[in-house]
Symmetry: D2
């Protein structure tokens, strides 16, 4: 049994507390940590969790804490990772690893230095369609890869205030998943160059302020393969994650916006439900990534577990994509090398 403190009780943090407490047999949530202590307490009570604490400091005083799950705002990732690692705790962090590439590198190094298990929240690797497709591609089923495509569209309509969303969020926090999918499928191949086309189309009034809600990123790999990643903040038909990998010997596709196994036929034709959010549609993949995290802590080798290196690889692509957008040109990945 792995004793875990979950830090952060926002939308995704609340989901993670519930998923870990109710659906991951190998995990025991012993503390919910958030300076918004009332929210932490309510969540702890709802799931019979012994402690609700305002900060990681207090959690470190608990006996028998094994690991933390970080689901806090991005600027806090690095200090929390470093603090937890320094205390010998295993670390699961929501993506991306940290607010900047430099901070991410420092955080990953801290975890490595501490010798703890480190995992990044690239849950798409644990979703059945992606895992099955990856197994097929790894087994050589489609031969040499020529094309990869990965897509993320958040459910709409978009109602947030663009002014409250940090610049580059669609690249740093949304496309980061697609960058990881591409890296994961590509195996040994390395990205060489990145080109971005991005704009504010969902919220065009925010364009002048630099807001981006729609993006297409093209990545050339040293194998010759060409990858594309695309995202939108507003799919009115619901959460839409898809991927396609095409090679010399065939193609695999994964994902569909359709969210129900019931099909309806009426005078308007066929209809099928597509609505749903990430935590509704991909709950199983979150549970699976936490199970993998626990297994890794227990010493098991988990083949496709996203490590610090994976987190950095995706973050390099995010930085390259944002640089490409800023400078209106194709960017070489080596420009991002330290």
């Amino acid at each position: 049994m792995i004793d875990i403190a979950v830090i952060g009780t926002g939308r995704i943090g609340s989901h993670h507390v519930s998923a870990l407490a109710e659906d991951v047999p190998a995990a025991r949530v012993v503390a919910v940590v958030d300076p918004a202590i009332d929210r932490a307490r309510a969540l702890a009570e709802a799931h019979d969790i012994p402690h609700a604490l305002p900060s990681l400091d207090q959690a470190l005083d608990l006996d028998a804490l094994d690991a933390v799950v970080i689901a806090t705002p991005l600027p806090t990732h690095r200090p929390l990772i470093e603090q937890a690692a320094a205390a010998g705790l295993h670390v699961f962090t929501e993506k991306p690893v940290a607010a900047t590439l430099a901070e991410a590198r420092a955080a990953v190094e801290a975890a490595e230095a501490a010798g703890v298990v480190f995992q990044v929240g690239f849950n798409r690797r644990f979703a059945e369609p992606w895992a099955a497709a990856h197994a097929a591609v790894s087994a050589g089923e489609i031969g040499a890869i020529h094309r990869l495509h990965s897509l993320t569209r958040d459910p709409g309509p978009f109602t947030a205030d663009p002014a409250r969303i940090p610049e580059g969020t669609i690249v740093r926090e949304t496309l980061i998943h697609d960058f990881d999918v591409i890296s994961w499928f590509m195996g040994e191949a390395r990205p060489v160059a990145v080109h971005t086309a991005a704009d504010a189309l969902v919220a065009p009034a925010a364009r002048a302020a630099g807001f981006l809600d729609t993006a297409v990123v093209t990545i050339r790999l040293d194998s010759g393969a060409i990858a594309t990643a695309e995202a939108s903040f507003s799919a009115v038909y619901g959460y839409d994650l898809r991927g396609e990998v095409f090679g010399a010997g065939g193609m695999v596709q994964m994902g569909s916006p359709v969210s129900s196994g019931a099909r309806h036929y009426g005078s308007e034709g066929l209809r099928a439900r597509t609505a749903g959010t990430d935590t509704e549609r991909f709950h199983d993949s979150y549970v699976a990534e936490f199970s993998a995290f626990c297994s890794a802590i227990e010493g098991e080798e988990i083949a496709d577990r996203p490590t610090g290196a994976d987190g950095l690889a995706a973050q390099v692509l995010a930085d390259a994509a944002l640089l490409s957008h800023a400078e209106g040109r194709e960017v070489l990945v080596e420009e991002l090398a330290r």
Copy 2:
């Protein structure tokens, strides 16, 4: 080039004139025949057809007539088949062969005696999904057949006057296609017993008059396989033909109500068009059955061409199904033997 007179200019006859004149290179329509001579003339004119005639008698006077295509009301089938066959013309007749099993037997015998090519309008055999599925089943892909299911739903809403529809039409004219599909897929196996559940559900007010608009027929075959055929006069989502054949080694499915290759996603979910009538959705299969008819006349062996024997096999099942309904019991096919 096969010179053909098309007899009958109703909905399906008009379609056949057009299909033969425009889309079957091997066929030349030389006459449109209908006592409603104005309709025949209009159709002939629209398709540059030389003759519009009130009856088959006049058509027989034409030089160089090779064949007739019969698309007239059911009671006229037998005399027309016999007259054409006696004149040495090849005969294509819409299903069923004739109004009664006895008449159908007489008509098929007349065609056989005359040595002409005889074909029944079981166009579903020529629809790509059915042909592909049949090829797979014939090749042994699913092993021994355990179950067959064939379904026909006419596009709704149903607006006809039930009083003007002959009793048993859903069995004799609609399910006849499904009976042929079942016989065709079963190959050597013979039907043994038939059970019908049928009712007036679309037009319940007509139930007292014996009208039927919804039917499920179960057929036991001597191989042990169990077949079901079902039909409805009113699918509000459009024409719906489907089939499923299940065996020891797998399953094939054919058909779908979806009629468009475009998929729409909106706040209501996925939508795809399903509307369409038989002549819209299955035009290609009509063209293919006429091409097969022409090829057979030119001496080619056409493996799956529905012959007189096929027409009778389906009509025996129709009679058995109606007898089962009338007497509320399972009927043995041998009861229908002469």
Copy 3:
């Protein structure tokens, strides 16, 4: 928290122990009960369950037991239900309720007399496609129901010894799910007549001994609607549960043999995985039915929870279907009335 003893540690009992212990937050498994005490102990140990006991008698001595989940061979259902109900325990029993209709009626009466919550394991009601389709039909989306079809095919190839399978199992234990689906969707309509076509096609050598592995049952309802239920013991492509409900205003379909969200394309065409067993493919529905059971015990009204009356309704159809098969005739449901 509902304290539960699970009785029976066969394939489905083991699954239920795991599902209840790990995935149903409202439930606590306090005892695993089986005369095969080693199996009970292993299972208890694997899931941190305090007690492994040889019989319900010992379980009744435990403090704080709220309910039993019965997953034992069919002949033991009635005595266990009666014993548990007499002790004031709530009862969840795998389907069917009991070995005979008379026993089932006695068991349901015992539970009613004791005033305990009683639920039958018709988990298909809790599978997302079926629940969504039922909601649509209940909301009137397809208007008056004309046709219902429900299908169950167990994953093959079939390797069991037919001699060890009780006669009529495909009807009593497999089609019972389909009978419940039909009853559930039909709402107020009552079954009137039942016709069965069944045979030994998977294991034809066992035909002489009365074994059945393939069945199609046609049910006429007093609304006029016609239902069909079909089953096979051996689908080589994996577990296959499907349903279709067709009415005056449209159609809903539920289920698919496809078990993966990844699609593969190669020189052989499109491929998608279909393999899987009930507990793999429908695990979520088992968890949901147990959650509903716990909620009902806690006093909540659960609209579609399958009650004793539902269990009896399905079992009446099973008896009618077997009688139809035995006597080779359509059977009236009223023949089964007490």
Copy 4:
């Protein structure tokens, strides 16, 4: 009836002769033109076409010629268009209009000056899924467009000799269809910038010679919308044309590699056929484009008929895409202005 000379008897020319002669009632093919006169004669004979001629010169001597259909190698397009237009003939040319943008502009101007009907072979506009999707988008069903994606994969395995394929063919002759789809769906919006990632992945040995067989082109439009077009010379699963248009109010998708309406299920899972070439899979769209051409000649307004302006718009994108590849940078469309 439109009297047509078809020029060119290669793979696509032969198809067009057959399609026009057999399947387009409004057209009459009066001459097949090819310096390979034996091939022209064989084709003419097969379809009862009166004339087989070595060059357009001879065809111009025929009485009553209304139009030409050009399906010759690209360098001959411009002179043939100009000669036909000068003779007052309507012109249908396979895509692209001409070998270079300058030549294409000259050819289109010649046709305009002559006042003849001019049409480019962008048959995808006439394929049912694309036409249906375009109608939905034009009707505002998905609101403002944010993203367009169009894909063309030729059936593989690729067996041609790269040395015999002109440089840039995948852009000029394959992606030209996708460029037209994008332009057509975008309506009033104009392309602003183009970025290409392309490589020789199917035939990597030809990379050094500048051969390209895989390409992804990103196009920014002045509406803000971002389009991508991609192509490959070798899809081992068969011809694959697809598209997706995403907007503020939803999404439409068109096309699928699946080429059969039969689905097969076996121990390996679901299978469906995908093989097929353009002329097999998209025959109906060729027939429809020729029918539209004939209707336009007869004076009808055909809304989505691809005109000379459409041909030039696509060719500008092709030139921009090739320039982007050559110079390794994003290219502004205005750079291609004359």
